[in-house]
Each structure stands twice: as C-alpha cells, then as structure tokens.
C-alpha cells in the first residue's frame, strides 16, 4: 500500500520512515554498485573466454546440425560438404567475434543521480484523493537563502507544503521536514484543480517573514481524477457530435421516459456492484490482479 501523509499527528512517524528508507537506500545502492562493478568485470572476461570457446563449441555443434540437414537434401560429395561446413563455421565465428568486439568496450554502470541541482516541485495525481509531490532546492538557491536570512536559515525554519485547491478556492498546509524530498498528500476533493507551493515557516523569533511564511517554489497545476457518476451535472440537454462532419445537435432529455431509460442503464451498474462485491472486487477491474500481469 502506498505511503500516505494523512494527519498531522501521523506525520512524525512518517518522517521517521522517510529517514529510515533514505538511509536504507543509501546502503543498498552502495552494495549493488560494488557487486555490479565486479560482475561487469566478470562478464567482460566471460566474453573474452566465450570468444575462445566458441571456436570449439561451434564446430562441434555445427557438424551435427549440418550433417542432419544434408541428409534430407541431395547428398553432395564429401569434399563439398566439408568446405561448406568450414565456411559456415568461419562465418559464425566471424560474426560472434564482431559482436564481442563491439560490446567488449561497452563497460557501463549507471546510478540515478540523487539530485539534479534544480529548484523544482512537481505534483502528480496518484488517485482522485491522493497527490504525490516531489521537490528539490538547488545548491545556489540554498546559498542565496542563507545569504539573505543568515547561516542558520535551514535550522531555524521548517518546510511546508501549501496545497491550493483552485476549483473550490481553498488551501491547507502540510508541515514536512528537510529529510524528505517527496510526500503523499490526502486531499478532500476529487475532480478539482490543484497546485502546490513549497514554502518555509519560522521556528523561532530569529528569522521573521511577513505572515511568517516564505514561498520557495510553486508546482505545476493538475486536476485530480473524478471518482463518481456525475448525474447532478447532466442537465436537460445533451449534445451529440456527428464525427463524420463535426455537426453538433442537441437532444432534450428532460422527459420522464428518457430519464427512466438512463435510470435503467445505471441500475445495471448498481447490480454489477452488488454482484461483484461478493468477489471482493470492485467496479474497476484491476489489471494487476489479472493473470497476465506477471508475464510482463
């Protein structure tokens, strides 16, 4: 289950988690990097060995397969057969050597950088009511803050995320800490536009901002997905587009008989919900619960 930043009380626990995981990930990356380098060395030496071995192996294999094939076809003279064989063997060795040469020099190991030294905050919608935010402040911007507000800036302030709901025009604040660089935020409203601000608030009287808030950077704007049927927004008129000529026509659906029809259609879905509840599966069919999932 996804890690979620829920209530203020729980945040301290979550912070601990974040710290732990960040420590963990550091050690594991170290491990993998050390083993990786050794494996790449191994593989490169393997390649060299393989190239040597292929001479022997391929000749043995080839003799068996070619003899089988030729059995079914016209039987050429023994000399010809031998020549053909050697030509083929030489060819396969040549291509294998070529390939080995091409990739022998490609010894690579990559790790994802911890930071890109940029000041940025991005927001993504995980579900209709959970937003994911990641952020980073560049070295230059950190230094700038310290020059402007004093060396102790980061110790005497704490970071906050201000969540702005642009559709319903409200905002709320999630206090975070400097060990985290991402957060899951619960929001009350689906199908709303959001944007998020990364800012700081003062811990003490040492540093004072207007309204006790300093904005650092602001995110992209997203709309959280809808999570329910929007009957109330249907209205009395529906619009049709003829996709062949882009002609738009309207239809009045206020009549009782039409509403009854729509009701019947959506009754079917209610029925499904009840039927499939027994299977502990909801309306949305999860592909990761389906049997093909482990194939990929």
């Amino acid at each position: 289950m996804p890690r979620k930043a829920k209530t203020k009380e729980e945040n301290s626990d979550i912070n601990k988690d974040v710290k732990k995981t960040s420590n963990k990930s550091k050690t594991t990356t170290k491990k993998t990097s050390s083993t990786r380098t050794s494996t790449t060395q191994k593989t490169s030496s393997k390649v060299a060995k393989k190239v040597q071995n292929t001479d022997k192996k391929s000749t043995v294999k080839k003799t068996t397969t070619t003899s089988k094939k030729t059995l079914n076809k016209k039987v050429p003279s023994k000399k010809n057969k031998k020549n053909l064989k050697t030509i083929r063997v030489v060819k396969t060795i040549k291509t294998k050597l070529k390939r080995a040469k091409l990739f022998a020099n490609l010894i690579e190991y990559y790790d994802l950088p911890y930071s890109y030294n940029q000041t940025v905050i991005k927001v993504l919608a995980q579900t209709p009511t959970i937003l994911f935010v990641y952020w980073e402040i560049s070295k230059e911007d950190r230094e700038l803050l310290e020059t402007n507000y004093g060396k102790n800036f980061f110790n005497s302030t704490y970071p906050v995320l201000v969540v702005h709901n642009l559709s319903k025009n409200y905002h709320f604040e999630v206090p975070i800490d400097d060990f985290a660089n991402n957060w899951y935020i619960h929001v009350p409203d689906s199908k709303c536009k959001y944007h998020i601000e990364l800012g700081r608030r003062s811990r003490s009287s040492e540093i004072i901002f207007p309204n006790n808030y300093l904005s650092i950077t602001s995110s992209n704007e997203i709309e959280s997905p809808n999570d329910h049927i929007l009957f109330e927004e249907l209205g009395n008129t529906i619009y049709y587009m003829n996709v062949k000529n882009n002609e738009i026509t309207t239809k009045d659906i206020a009549s009782l008989s039409f509403m009854k029809r729509i009701g019947k259609i959506y009754n079917i879905y209610d029925l499904y919900k009840k039927m499939y509840k027994e299977q502990e599966l909801d309306l949305k069919n999860p592909s990761s619960n389906n049997p093909t999932s482990t194939f990929r």
């Binding site: 990739f103 049927i229 619009y239 003829n242 996709v243 026509t249 949305k284 389906n290």
Partner: protein
C-alpha cells in the same frame, strides 16, 4: 442460414504488447524469452485460428493493438534467429521427452503433442511467414477482418508523463509513425498505454489523426457530463476523440481470477511445468543459463481443482470446456443485448478488451475459445454481430459529447500501479530527461542528415522513450524481475544523460554511441525534432 436480426454489436480488442527487450551483447537474459513464449503461445495460435476462420469463410471482426516495441522486436533479425533457436531447443527437448516418458502413455501422448506443436511453429514461422509475423497480421487487416490499432511509442503512461506534454506528443507521434511504416496507412485508433487517459492528450491524438481510444469502464461512467448509455455506446470528447469503454460483465467472465473462464478445471495448469518437475541434470540445458529452474512451456497437467493432486491434461476435455464456455459467452451477450436494445435508441456495443497474451500464454485454450466463439456468432441465430470500433463509428457517427474521466485499467482504476512508494523515485528522472530532450531539440533544431550529432540526438530520443516504458514501473510494483526493470531504467537514463552531456560539450564518443545504438535499436527512423516546440 437465416438472416439475423441484429440488435447490437460485440467488439473484441486484444492488446498485444511486450517491452522492447533486445540484448545482442548476451544470450543470458531470461526476459528475452517473453517474446518467444508469446509468439509460440499467443501470436502464432491467433494467426492460425484467424487463418482457419478465413479458410472456412467465417466472417469475423476483431481489433488488435500491436504496440511499437512489439513490432520492432518482431521485425528484428537477431530476435527472429534466436526464436528459431528457441524452437529448435524445444523440439529437441520434446524429442527427449518422448523417450523419457515412453512408459507413461498419458505423458507420452502430450510429449508427442508438444513435439508436433513446436515443429509446426518452426514450419509456420520460417516457411509460411518467412520469419515475418507482422505480414501475417497485416494480411488479415488487408482482407478486412482485423483492425490493427497503434499504441504509445514505448507504452509510456500518459497521466504521469503529461507533466511534460511534449513527452506525450512524442509517444503518440512515434506510435503513429511506427504503425505507418509497417501497415502502410494511418491507424484509426490507439490503445492508450494502460488505458491511461488524460484529456490534455486529445489535441495530440487529433493532430496525428487518431479517431478513437479505449478506456476502462469508469473512463466512460464517470465522464462529464454523464453518458446516457453508459459503456454501451461510445462518447466523443470536445476535441473529437471517440472513447469506447470496457464492458464490465463480459470482462468479468474472462478476467476474473476466481470464476473466470481460464480457471476451468480441464484447462492446462500454467504453474506445473517440466522446467520445475523434471530431474535437474536432465532439464538443465533447457532452463536458465545460471541453472535456475524456469518454465519451459512443456506442461502435462490440468488445473484439476483447488488444492488437490493434479491430473494429466487431456486435450479433448480442454476443447470441450472451451466449446461449452463459448456457448455460455454467446448466450450471455445475447441476453445482455436483448435487454439493452429495448432501452437504447442506437444499437448497443459491448466492448471486450483484453491483454492479447492472456489468450494462449496464460489461458492456453484462449485462441481456440475465440475461434469457436467467432464461428458460433457467425452461424448461430443470435441477435448480434462482431464489429470493430472503427466500423461502429462509421455506421453510427452521431455520438454523445462528453469528456472521459482520467483513468487507467490498473488496480483501483487510477495511477497507483505506476506511482507508489516502490517506484515513485523514477518519475523525477523521467521528467528531467524529458525536459532535457526538449532542451536539446530546441538547441539543435536542424542538424545535418547523417551528421554524428543528429545520430546522437536521435539516440537520445530512443533512450528517453525506452526509459518511459510503463512496464518497468509495473514490474517494480509487481515484485518479480525487479532487478531487471530497475537496471533498464538506470541504463536508459544513464545512456541518455551521458549522451546529453556529450552533445552539449560537442564531444560525442563515437564508439559508445555506436555500441548503444546496436542494443537500443528500436525506431530506426526516429526524428528527434518531434521534441522541439
């Protein structure tokens, strides 16, 4: 045959996709086998069943998405060669099995069956299709029974990539270009990767001529304003993209892991395989090169029941079950359509989208079930016909306007599968690489053809696209083969970043570029300028 009274339509959409896996540098990658298994168990069986229907003059309609990475792999000479090698090894193994099982008539019969099946695959692949299965699918499109649609270039998940909208534009552009290259025309529809819908992508879909998309059921049910006929009729977005939603009832019948068709006790048991069951020294040459036991594809048992000893697989019994279930499916759709057509003023369409690899790979009898079902629909006096989404639009072009809901077909219907604490670290890197690609395209708007820099810029675009594949995120969430997926993300981001820095410093390492362009060789015709604003 009586003339049918058609009251509605059923539309099958099979989504055929595998991530681009191509390792000329080594033969030890197990992940490469996914392609070979899918060819033997799904793609060839589908083609053979389509062919049977064609030969028997059964008119059927089906829609398939063949994703760009899959097309690139099916067209790849090295992978074609390795598939032949794979088949020869399987033929050799089944020959040995025929000897090993000579005292057990039921196993022996199946060993013969596998020997024939793999031998036939080799014949079909090499001699009939000349190693080119794409042509095989194209044939059925050309004769009008199959509608092939495209997909995002590397199955990148639009709802998250959209933070950089040119990244989504490029996914669509390269998807459409790849399709045109192989099928000689523009695609009418697109399978949105993971059915991930964002309304903002509509303008690019329209720009590249896409007429329709497939969404998960709630993509339609939660649309704005509410579609009056639910998923039983398509809707059209304000920008003119037609959306078809997955039907819930028919999906359940096939997908459900609890009581879906594939769980029939007579069907082949996927998890019992001689790769695990046979003596170790005997099976060693046919399992993973590091000696780990894996599936070989030779399976002798049927599902039999829950928590019980497994009985041998009986091909005839399995066929009987498939036929019975095809009848059940037909009856269910008939009554569903009977009921719906009385309350709708357009004929209902029941859209049944599935992963293609469900048919044959997981549900071994799936292709046969489809064959029987299509025959039944054609011959039986039922109240519906098969149709493709494109044909439905042609016949009933007046469509209710509504914006589909942001959605996907992943667990719980939104973005959790591709964005959760196991894989959320990836998105930052994908977003940065996407922005850098746009930066490069704008810095170097018209590099000379055949120049080293253009070559490098195009390779950057390939690396970015390959990193964006939703498969890596999915695998990490799913917890199997995680190391491989994580390495692929690191490799593509790493190669991209290295090239990005080299291009900016005008110091391109030719050998490095050459080597990685041999490995990450998808989309040979790519043009990096799709990323310029």
């Amino acid at each position: 045959m009586q003339k049918k009274q058609v009251k509605g339509y059923v539309s099958f959409v099979l989504h055929a996709h595998l991530p681009f896996i191509h390792h000329p540098e080594s033969e030890d990658y197990l992940e490469e086998q996914w392609l070979y298994e899918a060819i033997s168990e799904t793609y060839i069986p589908l083609l053979l069943n389509f062919k049977k229907l064609e030969d028997e003059h059964v008119n059927f309609k089906i829609t398939m998405s063949l994703t760009p990475p899959l097309l690139n792999m099916l067209d790849n000479k090295l992978l074609q060669k390795r598939y032949i090698k794979y088949l020869k090894k399987h033929i050799e193994l089944s020959e040995k099995e025929i000897k090993r099982t000579k005292n057990n008539p039921r196993e022996n019969e199946l060993a013969h069956y596998y020997f024939n099946r793999y031998s036939n695959d080799l014949y079909v692949f090499k001699d009939i299709y000349n190693c080119n299965l794409i042509e095989g699918f194209k044939h059925f499109q050309d004769i009008g029974v199959l509608e092939i649609i495209t997909c995002g270039a590397t199955h990148g998940y639009f709802p998250i990539l959209y933070v950089n909208e040119l990244a989504v534009k490029a996914q669509i552009a390269v998807g459409v270009q790849t399709y045109e290259k192989y099928f000689g025309r523009k695609p009418r529809g697109i399978w949105l990767p993971e059915c991930g819908y964002v309304p903002e992508a509509d303008k690019y879909l329209r720009e590249f001529g896409i007429q329709y998309i497939i969404t998960e059921s709630h993509g339609i049910l939660y649309a704005d304003p509410t579609p009056v006929y639910g998923t039983f009729a398509p809707i059209v977005s304000p920008r003119g993209v037609v959306a078809f939603g997955r039907d819930i009832e028919s999906s359940r019948q096939v997908w459900s892991s609890i009581n879906g068709y594939p769980g029939d006790f007579n069907y082949r048991e996927f998890y019992r395989d001689i790769g695990y069951d046979a003596p170790y020294d005997y099976i060693k040459p046919y399992i993973a090169s590091n000696g780990v036991r894996v599936h070989t594809g030779l399976k002798y048992f049927r599902i039999t029941g829950k928590d019980c000893d497994k009985d041998y697989y009986n091909i005839q019994w399995a066929k009987d079950s498939a036929e019975k279930q095809a009848g059940h499916f037909l009856d269910c759709r008939t009554s569903q359509i009977e009921n719906l057509s009385s309350i709708m003023d357009v004929p209902p369409i029941i859209l049944c989208p599935y992963d293609a690899e469900l048919y044959g790979h997981w549900w071994y009898e799936g292709p046969y079930w489809l064959y029987i079902l299509f025959k039944k629909i054609y011959y039986d006096n039922c109240n519906f016909e098969l149709i493709t989404p494109g044909e439905y639009i042609d016949r009933f072009p007046s469509i209710q306007m509504s914006t589909p809901c942001r959605s996907s077909w992943g667990a719980n219907g939104y973005s959790e599968v591709w964005l959760n604490p196991t894989n959320d670290y990836v998105h930052k890197h994908l977003h940065v690489a996407g922005n850098r690609m746009v930066e490069l395209a704008n810095l170097f708007p018209n590099e000379a053809q055949n120049s080293l820099k253009r070559f490098a810029l195009n390779q950057c675009a390939r690396e970015l696209l390959l990193a964006q594949s939703s498969d890596w995120l999915f695998i990490i969430t799913n917890g199997t083969m995680v190391d491989y997926a994580k390495k692929r993300i690191k490799d593509h981001i790493g190669r991209f970043t290295k090239l990005y820095n080299q291009i900016k410093k005008d110091n391109i390492d030719k050998d490095f570029l050459h080597s990685i362009s041999k490995i990450d060789c998808a989309f040979p015709e790519i043009d990096y300028t799709i990323y310029s604003k």
